[in-house]
């Protein structure tokens, strides 16, 4: 460089270290350009660890460790797209408050103190043994998760029940999916969501029920956007959500009037003769009783209870009656309800009576919440025995014992208590020790103010988590530091039954260990034999899962090994060995033959009269409080998404705000209030105010992400699924003191 140009550059620099900081260059591996600073020397794929959409991500590796992530264009689920959580998945691993060593609560000082793994496992084993010898084996229970790989769920459920003699264990999937699982099981004979995401693209009528898909599952909304048939999109939701606006039609029904709406729909379809008599006759049972039952749902009742305009309701009926390929998709608006199972089954009933199932673009389709809720539903060994079996069935128990090579006596003969029943057991002194794995009960459980009392009743609380700062870890007696998604191997099952790989892309901090390895340590210390002595790697458990699934609806035996999952873009169950012999479709749906999993192969019409909510509004508490997701950048208790500086910018600034209709704001003279107090019979919180016509009058909305929200919620449960009804309680709103 000549002196002249050096001087010129001094005056006007076009290049230099700052410029090069952002230079992009071809990243190879089909990545396109990437920041030069972060250019990889290899890539690896992994399924995302947030929601059940199960997007494929590509980790950009250098020296084997992930530097960056981008969505995988080859993965059939997301085809190169991801929501902000997926893009930011690595940032949750880098937080300051990662659990890097085990912690034991010092009985004298009452504080959590660091300890060695050796001491931690000793404390675990002795603590559990002490409770079990004093109060019996059933005095210990576990609360698991839908956030860890299926292999770890199998290990946890087996270790707890077959190894440690526990009978009761449940997961946070109770909070999101229990309703759908129960509904499918009863109606179809197996917990089998029938669809593939391709159905989003094949429908001509798409009904979204209690689902803010745009925000909760943005990549599934993308699949709808790819639908070439200009589908009619009907959104059923009391709130005018992002999805309600993006869809073509919005039915803003009154909260918890969905069961009446669907029975009303079924009654009108029947009146119009818009039913598939042949399908009903060949593939279902119980239709006559259903027909008789529907007489209770005249138009007037439906309109009165749902609050819908007659024209809107008729247009809805019309769409369903005339649609050739009608699909219904539901999430938490249905599942988290006091009668959610019946609502889900009403949707199933409508599909059965119209024959909208088994063909492309049809189906009563439950979209799952957590990344591995589906793995948990089949393999967590909680509400059913491994592989979707029944604890009560001697044949099932014998089968499992034979497959795992252990005495059948080790298998409990009754089904687990549900989450709420386990906590009730603690409150009543029957359960004295809890092992909580990868969930944040003290934040997410309904009526969470009650957790303090429950903690007091426990002799021993173990929390196994990736952070030491969760509301639940802070109150534990023993904290076991877990490696997180991205730091371990295994498989997830997504909403459409797709088994996908997750992969170790980063080293876990400090002495954190994969949950799998923590279970191995415990099994080793307890000196347990089969099947635990065979489970050295996640893939060993996967082999057991295959054996457990053989010949069942969820058959996995056609999946040769993990590399097959990589190459195929994940594989949906079922894939039996015989199916795998011929080429099979990447996206498959169930029931094309109309044969269901119930004995006799017929699906069952299931129905029940609607029940009133447990806590209706009254003069003292005149507002219905709904809760739900805030933005696509927030995940549940924000334990992980809260660690990303970028995601923090993508949620509303200034903290949680109560959404309230402007008319109510005016009526209560709250205009300009900086904060308001929201009070229920269980607690009160102070939050900001967001006047918005997105909520109707008489209804208010709070994000579930704020730990305080569940101080308000009412602990009501669906009687069949035991899923909490987060989306209805009565509150009062008052002006807040000025800060």
């Amino acid at each position: 460089m000549s002196l002249g140009s050096k001087l010129l550059d001094l005056i006007r620099a076009h290049d230099g270290p700052l410029t090069r900081d952002l230079v992009r260059r071809p990243g190879r591996f089909g990545l396109g350009q990437v920041p030069e600073r972060l250019a990889p020397d290899g890539i690896a794929t992994s399924v995302c660890g947030y929601c059940s959409t199960g997007c494929g991500l590509r980790a950009h590796l250098r020296d084997g460790e992930a530097l960056n992530l981008s969505p995988d264009p080859d993965y059939p689920v997301n085809r190169g797209m991801a929501c902000p959580k997926g893009w930011e998945a690595l940032s949750a691993l880098e937080a300051e408050d990662r659990a890097t060593v085990p912690w034991i609560r010092n009985p004298v000082s009452g504080k959590l103190e660091e300890c060695t793994w050796d001491e931690a496992i000793t404390r675990f084993v002795e603590g559990m043994a002490a409770v079990q010898s004093a109060y019996g084996p059933e005095a210990v229970a576990f609360l698991g998760t839908g956030q860890i790989p299926t292999e770890e769920l199998v290990f946890l459920g087996s270790l707890a029940k077959f190894g440690m003699g526990m009978v009761d264990g449940d997961g946070n999937t109770r909070q999101c999916m229990a309703t759908a699982a129960r509904a499918y099981k009863e109606s179809f004979g197996f917990d089998a969501p029938p669809y593939s995401y391709a159905d989003f693209e094949a429908s001509d009528v798409i009904v979204l029920v209690g689902s803010n898909l745009c925000v909760a599952h943005p990549i599934l909304w993308e699949r709808i956007c790819r639908n070439p048939h200009r589908p009619e999109i009907i959104v059923i939701d009391p709130r005018r959500t992002e999805t309600a606006i993006a869809g073509r039609r919005h039915l803003a029904l009154r909260p918890k009037s969905d069961l009446v709406l669907f029975y009303g729909l079924a009654a009108r379809l029947l009146e119009r003769g818009a039913v598939d008599r042949e399908f009903i006759a060949r593939h279902t049972e119980g239709f006559e009783a259903f027909t008789a039952f529907l007489a209770d749902f005249p138009l007037e009742r439906v309109l009165a209870e749902t609050g819908l305009e007659p024209t809107d309701f008729e247009a809805f009926v019309d769409c369903i009656a005339k649609g050739e390929r009608v699909s219904f998709w539901w999430t938490m608006g249905v599942n988290q309800s006091h009668e959610g199972v019946r609502v889900a089954q009403a949707i199933i009933d409508v599909c059965l009576m119209t024959g909208q199932i088994g063909r492309p673009g049809t189906g009563p389709n439950s979209i799952t919440g957590q990344c591995n809720a589906m793995g948990s539903r089949i393999f967590s060994n909680t509400s059913n025995l491994l592989g979707g079996r029944a604890f009560e069935s001697p044949e099932d128990r014998a089968e499992v014992a034979a497959i795992l090579g252990m005495p059948v006596e080790r298998i409990p003969t009754r089904v687990s208590l549900a989450y709420d029943e386990i906590l009730a057991g603690v409150r009543e002194g029957r359960i004295k020790a809890l092992w909580i794995v990868a969930t944040n009960t003290a934040h997410s459980w309904i009526d969470s103010s009650s957790i303090a009392e429950i903690r007091e009743k426990l002799d021993f609380l173990v929390v196994q988590d990736m952070y030491t700062t969760t509301e639940t870890a802070r109150i534990a007696d023993l904290v076991l530091p877990a490696a997180a998604w991205g730091e371990k191997d295994g498989t997830f099952i997504n909403s459409e039954r797709r088994i996908g790989r997750i992969r170790k892309l980063r080293r876990a901090p400090g002495q954190a260990l994969a949950d799998f390895q923590i279970f191995r340590l415990i099994a080793d210390r307890l000196g347990l034999g089969a099947p635990f002595d065979r489970w050295k790697e996640p893939e060993d458990v996967f082999d057991s899962m295959k054996a457990l699934s053989r010949g069942r609806p969820c058959d996995l035996t056609g999946i040769r090994d993990y590399p097959m999952l990589d190459g195929a873009g994940g594989v949906q169950w079922p894939l039996s060995e015989s199916m795998a012999e011929a080429p099979f479709d990447t996206e498959r749906r169930l029931f094309a033959d109309g044969v269901f999993f119930r004995e006799g192969g017929r699906a069952l019409f299931t129905f029940e009269a609607p029940r009133p909510v447990a806590e209706p509004v009254d003069g003292e508490f005149p507002f219905v409080l709904l809760t739900g997701r805030g933005t696509s950048a927030q995940w549940h208790t924000e334990t992980r998404t809260g660690k990303s500086s970028v995601l923090a910018l993508l949620k509303p600034s200034g903290g949680t705000r109560l959404q309230m209709n402007p008319e109510d704001v005016r009526r209560l003279d709250l205009e300009g209030a900086e904060s308001v107090e929201v009070q229920s019979r269980r607690g009160r919180v102070r939050v900001g105010l967001w006047p918005t016509a997105a909520v109707p009058q008489g209804v208010v909305f709070l994000e579930m992400h704020d730990a305080e929200t569940n101080h308000l919620t009412y602990p009501d449960f669906d009687p069949y699924s035991r899923q909490p009804s987060y989306k209805h309680c009565a509150v009062a709103v008052r002006t807040g003191r000025l800060v």
């Binding site: 190879r28 991801a82 902000p84 993006a246 170790k504 200034g654």
Partner: protein, 570 residues
């Protein structure tokens, strides 16, 4: 700990598992078979132009509002694929909403925004070191990161809050429309990241067409659906095209409006403005008093006044340098003279500093010149009035540049008349304070001659000025909001009433006590007591109090500026 668990040299299971946990195998298992991966091009073909823009055209972002559902993947895609630093985002997603009381159904619209790659970029015009370039063919507005001195001025110039300052790097950075990707036929990161294909790149006409950004949008808004408070497109000719096939809903407004947050304080700038203005005021009053009271406004007083002007001036310029992220490159500031008021201000204030030194030289040379050179010294000393006058003149030109810096941003609170009133009042008010002080000290030094009425006259000016300014601030900004920029000023008022209420109160109290109360005390008792030392002390106190008051006022000038950029930016 591992040693404790290891027995007899055989690694324990814990050790084995910890070792296994540290082993990474993904690359061996996986990337080999994927190394030959597909070419990247082709996936977004329909979303980017296949040819370069022609004459009078440029590339622009196009946003299909009907497809944007606010998932914000664009923000994170941009962040990750461009390797931005923690907390840095080049895209924003905001939300606008309709439906006040009486409105039964809400319409909500999310809006994604990045740099608008304006036809006439204000960042480029404002940059004192020409760290921005507009590509003549593509229209990309490119920031030269190594050229930037971190003066923040582009952040004030840009109506859309696009440039982001990095404390770590000391510079701003911004969206470059992924020009290297576009040149290689790849889509920008945000286009790649949007699941709904809401963002695309297109070629638009920027001149000669009725659709050109600046021609078509005189007085119009970039987002036609929003009412009030948005910058007018005529300012910079933003090129982003927002489209919607939906009926525009009435009364759409940004959701963030419920709780506006204060703007960046820019504290060194605030201090620089007040101190240089005090310096200019000191020179101004020095000349005025010298002309009005040639007999009694003595040499000592004039020296004190000049000394104060020099001190204040240099303090101001010094503290101003603190505002730069990379002050070592400040010498480049002359490059922008042709378009940038910031550049002009820096250069003129450079001259001002030299003029102050010259005046100091001419007014003191007789005090320190060696005996033999007294004749030359006297000759030079005769240039003192000219030197002081030229310092004042330079200062006034600098003041004009300071005013223009803010006036040209198009921000309502900083409109030329409002800024000129503020800054001018500071010059007079603090100049009067310095004059009162130097006259009092001069009287004290001048063989104990008693304070005279002339020394106190500036105090009366100060009293009047503070009263007028406080009244203006309260009346104009807080209560009497008028004009088309009403919405923006309403937000300023909200800020002053709520998050900034404590600061605004402090400013008022400082003005009331030190600008109104103290001068009255000094005027009444000073004349009665006839004690030069006490009077000087009291005047100093009053002056410092007023200086503090002006500093808080200027701090609020920045913090309470509330022009709404794009939704999501405040």
């Amino acid at each position: 700990m591992s040693a404790a668990a290891t027995q007899g040299g055989v690694p324990s299971l814990v050790d084995l598992l910890l070792a296994e946990q540290r082993t990474l195998r993904a690359v061996d298992e996986f990337s080999a078979w994927h190394d030959a991966g597909e070419a990247h091009g082709g996936r977004f073909e329909s979303l980017i132009p296949s040819a370069l823009p022609g004459a009078g055209q440029q590339f622009a972002f196009a946003v299909d509002l009907d497809s944007c559902t606010g998932c914000k993947a664009c923000v994170t895609a941009c962040h990750s694929l461009n390797g931005l630093e923690v907390g840095e985002t080049w895209r924003k997603v905001g939300e606008i909403e309709s439906g006040g009381a009486g409105c039964s159904t809400a319409h909500r619209q999310t809006v994604t925004t990045a740099c608008h790659h304006c036809a006439e970029p204000a960042c480029l015009e404002g940059c004192p070191v020409r760290a921005y370039e507009k590509d003549p063919i593509t229209g990309f507005v490119i920031h030269l990161d190594d050229q930037c001195i971190g003066c923040h001025y582009c952040q004030l110039m840009c109506p859309y809050d696009v440039p982001q300052f990095s404390e770590r790097l000391g510079i701003v950075r911004k969206c470059d429309m992924c020009h290297s990707r576009l040149s290689a036929g790849e889509a920008p990161a945000c286009v790649q990241g949007c699941p709904n294909e809401a963002i695309s790149i297109e070629i638009i006409d920027i001149t000669g067409s009725p659709d050109a950004p600046r021609a078509s949008s005189q007085g119009a808004m970039l987002l036609p659906v929003i009412q009030g408070g948005m910058p007018r497109s005529a300012l910079t000719g933003p090129t982003t095209r927002y489209r919607s096939a939906r009926e525009p809903a009435p009364g759409l407004r940004p959701v963030e409006g419920f709780s506006p947050t204060p703007s960046e304080p820019h504290t060194p700038l605030a201090a620089m403005l007040v101190l240089t203005q005090a310096s200019i005021g000191a020179l101004l009053f020095d000349l005025l008093l010298a002309a009005t009271f040639p007999a009694s406004y003595g040499r000592e007083a004039r020296l004190v006044a000049l000394g104060a002007a020099v001190l204040l001036g240099f303090a101001g310029l010094g503290v101003g340098v603190l505002h730069l992220g990379r002050p070592q490159w400040a010498f480049r500031a002359f490059l922008g003279l042709r378009t940038s008021w910031m550049s002009r201000e820096i250069v003129v204030f450079g001259g001002f500093a030299a003029a102050l030194v010259a005046a100091l030289f001419t007014s003191t040379i007789e005090l320190w010149a060696p005996q033999g050179a007294s004749e030359i010294a006297a000759g030079i000393a005769r240039l003192d009035p000219a030197a002081r006058a030229s310092a004042l003149a330079t200062g006034l030109v600098g003041l004009f540049c300071s005013i223009q810096i803010y006036a040209v941003t198009g921000r309502p609170l900083w409109r030329a008349d409002r800024t000129a009133l503020r800054f001018g009042a500071t010059v007079v008010l603090l100049g009067a304070a310095v004059a009162a002080f130097s006259a009092s000290v001069g009287a004290m030094l001048d063989a104990g001659s008693p304070p005279t009425a002339f020394a106190l006259a500036p105090l009366a000016v100060l009293f009047g000025m503070v009263a007028a300014k406080l009244a203006w601030e309260r009346g104009r900004l807080v209560h009497g909001v008028v004009g088309h920029d009403e919405a923006a000023l309403a937000r300023t008022r909200l800020l002053l009433d709520h998050p900034l209420a404590a600061l605004a109160g402090l400013r008022r109290r400082l003005g009331l006590v030190c600008g109104l109360g103290l001068p009255v005390v000094v005027l009444v008792f000073g004349l009665m007591l006839d004690d030069a030392l006490m009077q000087s002390g009291a005047v100093l106190l009053c002056g410092l109090g007023c200086l503090a008051g002006e500093l808080v006022e200027r701090d609020l000038f920045f913090r309470s500026e509330a022009m709404r950029g794009m939704p999501g930016s405040l």
